[in-house]
């Protein structure tokens, strides 16, 4: 009764739930809503997360035990040769994409912040264009670039009389993930580069430091937060991306593709669930540890459409 009344009147009047709510939300401060109101405000989000995330995740975890090997199905990603190979392939590719994206975007992002020239804003805008392209569209872009009718194929055909086609395998996937990663890494690098203090560099230079030392000791440490955060997101996205591989070819053995085929084609729900949990846990643990060790930088919300 009094709880409802509190909510309706928007006032803080003690109710039987007050001590509990005060423990959850801390002591009321003047101006903020009463604990009952805060509870009401948080309810829709709480219900969504509980009903559509927590419960489903718990059920998935339970389904794993229905697998052929019982509870051992949890570790199938490590014990089964094919799944383990796919895990290694996914890890290596994600790390490779992340490394390439960081190097390329590190150079270009710094360049775009440091120099003013005609067309600079346009180049920045174009580079960040694919920010929210879904994986399927990225896959199609790779086909346009390196597919049978692609730009690279036509070019090599004209130059060397041989069509270079590499869209439909793991190198195409690599290109696709790079395509996808460039916008967000560029944005992060540019944001950190704007905060660099040019005087530090001048000081290093005037003390006689050669360019490579300025880069190593002054520029790179300054860019590091941006590089770490965007690199972490890049890696996590590449681990879980599915649309690009799906568009390019269904026989690319990256982990999301394996999960998909186990679930749909082989109806192997327990194994698909086990692999999903492993992939989800690894991605989350990776992002969480980056955030723990490097401050607030592994922020998944910066990830955008994946």
């Amino acid at each position: 009764m009094s709880l409802m009344q509190n909510i309706k009147e928007g006032r803080s009047r003690p109710s039987f739930l007050s001590p509990v709510l005060a423990r959850v939300f801390g002591q009321a401060t003047p101006g903020a809503g009463s604990p009952a109101i805060l509870l009401l405000l948080i309810t829709p989000g709480l219900v969504i997360v509980a009903a559509f995330f927590l419960i489903p995740m718990a059920l998935v975890a339970m389904r794993v035990a229905d697998g052929p090997d019982g509870w051992a199905t949890y570790f199938v990603i490590l014990t089964n040769g094919r799944y383990f190979a796919s895990l290694v392939q996914t890890l290596v590719m994600s790390a490779g994409v992340t490394f390439c994206a960081l190097v390329l975007c590190g150079i270009c992002g710094l360049f775009l912040v440091r120099n003013r020239f005609a067309g600079r804003n346009m180049i920045t805008a174009l580079l960040t264009l694919p920010l929210s392209f879904p994986g399927t569209v990225v896959g199609f872009m790779v086909i346009m670039l390196a597919g049978r009718q692609g730009a690279i194929g036509s070019m090599t055909n004209a130059l060397f009389d041989e069509k270079l086609v590499f869209a439909y395998n793991i190198s195409g996937l690599f290109i696709g993930y790079l395509y996808f990663s460039i916008p967000r890494v560029i944005l992060a690098v540019m944001a950190s580069a704007q905060k660099l203090d040019p005087q530090l560099e001048e000081a290093a230079r005037s003390l006689g430091a050669p360019t490579w030392r300025v880069v190593k000791d002054v520029i790179l440490p300054g860019l590091m937060p941006g590089l770490i955060s965007s690199g972490a997101i890049c890696f996590a996205t590449a681990m879980g991306a599915f649309g690009t591989a799906f568009t390019l070819a269904t026989d690319i053995d990256v982990l999301p593709m394996v999960i998909y085929t186990e679930f749909t084609r082989n109806a192997n729900v327990a194994v698909a669930a086990s692999l999903s949990i492993a992939l989800g846990a690894m991605t989350w643990a990776f992002l969480a540890s980056v955030r723990y060790f490097a401050g607030n930088s592994g922020d998944v919300a910066a990830r955008g459409g994946a």
Binding site: R11, T29, F53, F111, L129, A188, G243, A302, G305
Partner: protein
């Protein structure tokens, strides 16, 4: 300016242009292929809008459904997300932080895993599973953290305590304060979050592909379908339609992030990439 226009300048400019071409060549090619009579013969075969119309005939329902889902998703994330952001900012504590972590988990976990969980849990509820609401569920789960983050960032930067105390001392009740003072002041965050949610929802594929039925296809599901089974021109024309829908949203998002960044604000990596 630190670097003069020596060879280093031109080397970096060259790399930047190569990267730019890498992004833009396929976009331009697919846009052109969508309006070319025969892509195998090239542009000389002439330009046409035929493929665009054909895509519309084939996939209008999917495109319209996607727009509907994105608007529904926006409404849900507004109703759930804005109050949530308020509580998270106003009462920072161990429990709220834990909840925030939980809330962002659906973004960290691959969409495929999330979809699998939803299927296993709710796959048996025929009516619900067959309707577009099932897809909406996935989209809300995925986009809600973005709305909350965006709104919370703005709320944390404004002096909510003073504003609320002022309003309270003038006799405004909680709801009056919330809708009259808090929400209007958080508008930049709400708008940025809204753009993000709509853009993400229109483009969402990973979850949607698992959750859809033949009767609840969305725009990206239709795209995958067109890439797999239609001629290249149709896939391209469909992609062109997608670009026309999504690029204005992206440009608005960028412009918004730029204006929001101009006054020196608190450091927030999430904001940088919105």
């Amino acid at each position: 300016m630190i670097m003069g226009r020596d060879w280093k300048f031109y080397a970096q400019l060259g790399l930047t242009i190569v990267l730019c071409l890498f992004i833009m060549i396929p976009v331009v090619m697919s846009a052109l292929a969508g309006v070319t009579v025969n892509v195998f013969k090239g542009l000389s075969s002439g330009l046409t809008l035929r493929w665009i119309f054909e895509v519309w005939d084939l996939y209008a329902a999917s495109i319209v459904r996607s727009l509907g889902i994105s608007i529904a998703c926006l409404l849900v994330t507004l109703v759930a997300g804005v109050p949530l952001a308020y509580v998270l900012v106003r009462r920072p504590g161990r429990l709220t932080r834990l909840f925030e972590e939980l809330l962002t988990l659906p973004v960290a976990i691959p969409g495929l895993a999330l979809a699998l969980a939803l299927l296993i849990t709710y796959g048996g509820f025929g009516q619900y599973r067959m309707s577009w609401l099932f897809i909406l569920t996935g989209h809300v789960l995925f986009t809600l953290p973005f709305m909350v983050r965006s709104v919370a960032a703005v709320m944390a930067a404004m002096d909510m305590k003073t504003l609320e105390e002022g309003a309270a001392s003038l006799g405004a009740g909680f709801w009056r304060r919330f809708f009259g003072v808090i929400v209007p002041n958080a508008k930049p965050g709400i708008l940025a979050g809204a753009l993000m949610v709509v853009t993400l929802s229109i483009g969402e594929f990973n979850l949607t592909w698992m959750l859809h039925t033949p009767l609840t296809k969305t725009l990206p599901v239709g795209l995958a379908d067109a890439y797999a089974s239609m001629r290249l021109e149709i896939g391209s024309a469909y992609t062109l339609i997608f670009f026309v829908l999504i690029v204005p949203l992206l440009i608005a998002m960028q412009a918004f992030a730029d204006t929001a960044k101009r006054p020196p604000k608190r450091d927030d990596t999430a904001e940088d990439t919105i």
